[in-house]
């Protein structure tokens, strides 16, 4: 890298330009990320609603994590504790369901599209179409599927099924806990499988084709080539995809929050992010919201550290390949 440059790079006189060039980034990052982060930490130790300036210590955290032991079933602490853990559970369920569909599809397609023996016609077209959902705005996607899976008999699916005599009464997609969750999983997978497929595909194309030739000459079958060659080499990219998707999934907000008509979000789709959003945006409960944010942040950092570890593993063979 730059370290291999000539000595004149190290002349002190140029260092100030380095600081000058990176200064805007760090000023803006400090103003819009670091200070808001510190502010969030401060808010998490303060009260809620009108008591936003009162210092409450770890109360928000202890209520979120352990509930309010003194107050019985309807105590504020208990309500928030339940909502928070419920949100966490829902987030993980929604993420896992979507990810299973997504990863199976995108792995399969990536392997197919990179297969040199069995060519598929129109690969370029398929890639373009499969990535298409990813560029549509979440608000429109949610609105689209709300119209398609509407509870009323005028929704696209219900009207199709009723007109063909498959069912008599409209299916209440949106008010059934599991149906609405499965729909959200489907939407998330629909949005992201093209993107994941292209990421995996670029990983597969990075594999030296001569390895495959050698395997074919040695009589390796399609499945053993996949499990013994493609997967081990793809492992770093694969893990990267899993963990970045999980981190992204933990912040899942748009689709679960927007999947509703009327003014109130669907209760079966409360995620951690919608909990945070609702409490600082609608109910003015900055304390709970901030404490939940910090807890989410801690989980994200732990996962991020795993990514960093795999990331350094992943770059080592990559650099060799370039030479």
């Amino acid at each position: 890298m730059a370290g291999g440059g000539t000595k004149s790079h190290k002349l002190v006189s140029y260092a100030k330009y380095g600081y000058m060039f990176i200064l805007p980034f760090f000023l803006v990052y400090g103003f819009f990320m670091i200070w808001p982060f510190i502010n969030t930490v401060l808010l998490s130790f303060k009260g809620n609603g009108s008591k936003v300036n009162e210092w409450v210590g770890f109360q928000n955290y202890s209520w979120l994590l352990f509930g309010d032991k003194s107050g019985g079933r309807f105590a504020t602490g208990k309500v928030h504790h339940d909502a928070f853990f419920d949100g966490f559970g829902t987030t993980v369920i929604l993420w896992a369901g979507n990810f299973i569909i997504q990863i199976v599809l995108s792995l399969l397609l990536a392997v197919w599209f990179s297969d040199v023996r069995i060519k598929i016609k129109g690969t370029g077209f398929f890639k373009v179409v499969m990535y298409l959902p990813n560029i549509i705005m979440a608000a429109s996607v949610a609105a689209m599927f709300l119209m398609i899976f509407s509870n009323t008999k005028y929704g696209v699916i219900n009207s199709l099924a009723i007109n063909n005599g498959w069912i008599k009464d409209p299916i209440p997609f949106m008010s059934n806990k599991w149906m609405v969750r499965v729909i959200v999983m489907f939407i998330q997978a629909w949005l992201w499988f093209g993107n994941t497929m292209l990421l995996l595909l670029s990983g597969i194309f990075g594999i030296d084709p001569s390895i495959y030739e050698a395997a074919a000459i040695d009589g390796s079958s399609g499945s053993s080539t996949f499990f013994r060659i493609t997967m081990p080499i793809l492992k770093p990219i694969f893990l990267y995809v899993v963990v970045t998707s999980l981190i992204g999934g933990l912040q899942m907000f748009d689709i679960p929050y927007l999947m509703h008509t009327g003014n109130d979000p669907n209760d079966y789709l409360n995620t951690v992010a919608t909990y945070i959003y609702k409490h600082f945006h609608k109910f003015n409960n900055f304390g709970f919201s901030a404490a939940a944010s910090i807890l989410l942040f801690i989980v994200t950092v732990l996962l991020g550290m795993i990514v960093m570890r795999f990331n350094t593993d992943a770059t080592a063979p990559k650099k060799q390949r370039k030479k």
């Binding site: 790079h9 060039f21 805007p24 980034f25 200070w35 808010l43 600082f280 994200t300």
Partner: protein
């Protein structure tokens, strides 16, 4: 011998053919699943509410487009123009997205250039810092962010939607990787010998070389900002129509369950996806390649 060879070879060919056809069919099915919801939305936007109530599923256009359009845009004919204005939506979303994309690629290029070309004490620390914060999502700071913006009076203002883009760690990371693989440092040296100042070298020599990386990142930044619902809905607290982004308008059209007019609602949603789809199809080859590029480098 030759016979059996021919036989096995034709069996092999047949196997290849069958597999290829099966895979083709699966791909066609998946493409249909990707396209169908969008097609239904666009088609239903051209149909009258009455015909949608009779049959919600259609993949051919109807004849009520101009009618729906009038109801969507004319305050005398429908309630929708109070919450949804397609031109204002485009204008606001376009303005925010273009401005954010512009500052993001420019300043990310500047930052990556500074970290690659110059040697200074904090260089490694700065690089590590940017890599470390790559994964931190804006959601976890948003409570503190909104509180801060309220205190300095920046709510209902586009500045907090545009300025944070100056510090986009993922764009910087991408630029860093790109510069390391395809930016010759000697060229900076040569420019210095020729008497070019540092800023001029960046503008006239580095920027043209970095153009491909800029283009890829610009597209993703633009799409990300255009589609963003979260930040605008936090910052634009008063939810004034003339300030709303397209995402926020769509949300209000759907949230409105008192004045239901299916055709008009479908048209409103369709108008929000159509321009992006058209631009995507024009640039698709480039975008699909860009994702792969980003992945290999990052």
């Amino acid at each position: 011998m030759a016979d059996s060879y021919n036989q096995s070879s034709s069996a092999y060919k047949r196997m290849i053919m069958t597999h290829s056809i099966i895979r083709f069919i699966v791909c066609v099915l998946l493409s249909v699943i990707c396209l169908l919801p969008i097609i239904i939305i666009l088609m239903n936007g051209t149909r009258s509410s009455a015909s949608i109530i009779a049959n919600g599923f259609s993949i051919v256009p109807g004849n009520a487009l101009s009618d729906n359009w009038a109801k969507l845009t004319d305050p005398d004919k429908g309630p929708f123009s109070a919450v949804y204005n397609v031109w204002l939506g485009y204008r606001n979303s376009l303005f925010i997205s273009l401005a954010a994309t512009g500052v993001a690629v420019l300043f990310s290029g500047l930052t990556a250039y500074g970290l690659t070309v110059y040697h200074f004490k904090l260089r490694n620390f700065a690089t590590t810092f940017i890599l470390a914060v790559l994964m931190i999502p804006t959601q976890v700071v948003s409570a503190g962010f909104l509180d801060f913006m309220i205190k300095i009076g920046w709510v209902d203002n586009y500045l907090p939607l545009i300025l944070p883009a100056i510090a986009s760690p993922s764009t910087v990371f991408f630029m860093l990787q790109y510069m390391r693989s395809s930016f010759p440092l000697d060229i900076v040296e040569a420019a210095r010998i020729d008497g070019s100042g540092e800023v001029r070298t960046f503008v006239q020599i580095a920027l043209p070389i970095l153009k491909p990386a800029f283009a890829v990142q610009a597209i993703f930044m633009f799409v990300g900002n255009w589609n963003n619902y979260y930040t605008p809905s936090i910052i634009l607290l008063s939810n004034k129509l003339e300030q709303r982004t397209m995402s926020m308008m769509i949300q209000s059209v759907v949230a409105n369950d008192k004045n239901i007019d299916y055709g008009v609602q479908y048209l409103a949603i369709g108008m929000s996806v159509l321009p992006v789809i058209i631009i995507y199809l024009i640039l698709s080859k480039f975008i699909v390649k860009g994702i792969a590029l980003g992945a290999v480098k990052g």
